[in-house]
Amino acid sequence: MKDIPTIEIRELNKTFGTAENQVVALDNINISICRGEIFGIIGLSGAGKSTLVRCINLLERPTTGSVIFEGVDITNFTDQELRKVRQSIGMIFQSFNLLMQRTAMDNICFPLEIAGVSRKEAVQRARELLETVGLAEKENAYPAQLSGGQKQRVAIARALATNPKVLLCDEATSALDPTTTQSILSLLKELNQKLGVTIIIITHEMKVIEQICNRVAIIDNSRIEEVGPVDEVFRHPKTLAAKKLIFPKGDFSEPLTGNGKYLRLVFEGNSADRPIIANMVLQCGAPVSIVFANTKNIDGHVFGHMVIKLPDDEEVSRRILTYLELEKISYSEEKNYV
């Protein structure tokens, strides 16, 4: 992966409210986002992710810490300097936020007007972009006449009008149905590959991350709990927050009570096709109980996920672990949380 960071967030803190009634929204955030990557930030609502994305283009001013865009610290830029920078950072939203009294064409021309581009050039650029997002025939439609997916396409075209280096997506697919979500995500991926635009995606849906992100940061309770390549974080979630997000609610919400050891296994690639558990039970001569099982598809790779309870017999347990190591199955022991 390209290693020049497009955006770097250093020791960023954001608090709201007065001195005696303070709410911490972001707590010591450090992230570095590389050029051309699709970076996901996932967290439950209230985790602080929306505030974080707004700190990137400084719609929200951080309390302390700095935001570095293309090697330049923009945290203390004046309003005027910031307006210039914002033309290089596009943004799309959950509720699209199109100008309702302007046509699709004029919505896309809007950022170009602000950037001082001539009307003729703006119209030409807007036509190209409408073509890119597949809405060439909707040029004169008003947002009220478009579906949710179409509105988001117009919003994407608008965000890309000034050729930004970064595209911020704030829950961009959360208001869309699953099929439309898919098509918007593929469009984003395509734009990322075609234009090389760095994309930062804020979401609460693991599916969005699995489908298009290269790397992911897990935010919980105002802190970044974990950062890494998506498949790695998925395979070895280290923190409770990560586990909670990766395993949908209900599957893993209760801490296991009672004694005994639990093992979390991750099968990847071809091992997902082999009868690992059946062989293990046969070879080790020990029955295990399966507490949880699931499969996921990340970036075209199938991952199997399983939690088993080890037998109380230590000897048998040891044999099971040896077997797993031989089969090159990654596993981790789980104590109070599966």
Partner: protein, 220 residues
């Protein structure tokens, strides 16, 4: 009663009333529109919060709004005379009308501007729009239908004010209604004026609603 003289009287009154109403509304908007936008923008939830200035301007608006029009009409007569050279007549009435209506218009404009989706404003800020650009290119155009509905309300309210100026010889339908209906106890004359006023209010309201719907691209 319904003779040519009456129609001439009504015609004259109608013209004076329309003159006062439309000129006052226009001037009230010249003052009220920027003030209303300023109030919306400098609100603590606005794009450029200025709590102190906002409270001062808001306070002045509230004080002016709380003075009953009939009292304002009389109280500022010296000022009116200073501006127009007269204290009675249609042109003179425009002065108190504007002073009374401008703060009302400012509040109407403020509330229309605040109806604009916060997200749309945020989106334009994210594209690098300045405060002035947000006002010109986002708040005003996006609030247009609501502003037009507000303008219809303002016009009809100002029309109501013009009739009160009848007591100080302001001219127009109000003066006729008061001179004939009140001082000479010709109730039928008073009723005729009321009917004419009701019809004008209806027309203004209908025109306002029609234009607002026509230009609102959210419908359809």
């Amino acid at each position: 009663m319904f003779d040519e003289g009456l129609f001439a009287l009504i015609g004259q009154g109608l013209l004076e009333t329309l003159y006062m109403t439309l000129i006052s509304t226009l001037m009230a908007y010249v003052i009220g529109l920027p003030v209303g936008m300023f109030l919306a923008v400098t609100d603590k939830e606005g794009i450029r919060p200025m709590p102190t200035v906002n409270r001062i301007v808001g306070g002045i608006v509230n004080i002016l709004r709380s003075v009953p029009f009939v009292i304002l009409l009389v109280a500022i007569m010296p000022f009116t005379r200073f501006i127009t050279g007269a204290a009675i007549g249609s042109t003179a009435t425009i002065v108190p009308l504007v002073i009374a209506a401008a703060p009302f218009v400012a509040r109407l404009v403020e509330s229309s501007a605040k109806e604009v989706d916060r997200g749309v404003v945020e989106a334009s800020l994210s594209m690098g729009a300045s405060t002035l650009e947000v006002v010109w290119k986002v708040l005003l155009p996006e609030a247009k239908p609501s502003l037009i509905v507000g303008a219809a309300i303002a016009t009809t309210t100002i029309l109501g004010y013009t009739t009160m100026s009848g007591f100080t010889g302001g001219g127009g339908l109000g003066t006729i209604a008061i001179n004939y209906g009140y001082y000479r106890s010709q109730t039928d004359m008073m009723l005729v004026m009321v009917v004419v006023l009701v019809i004008i209010v209806q027309i203004f309201q209908e025109i306002g609603t029609f234009i607002a719907n026509k230009c609102d691209k959210r419908i359809r």
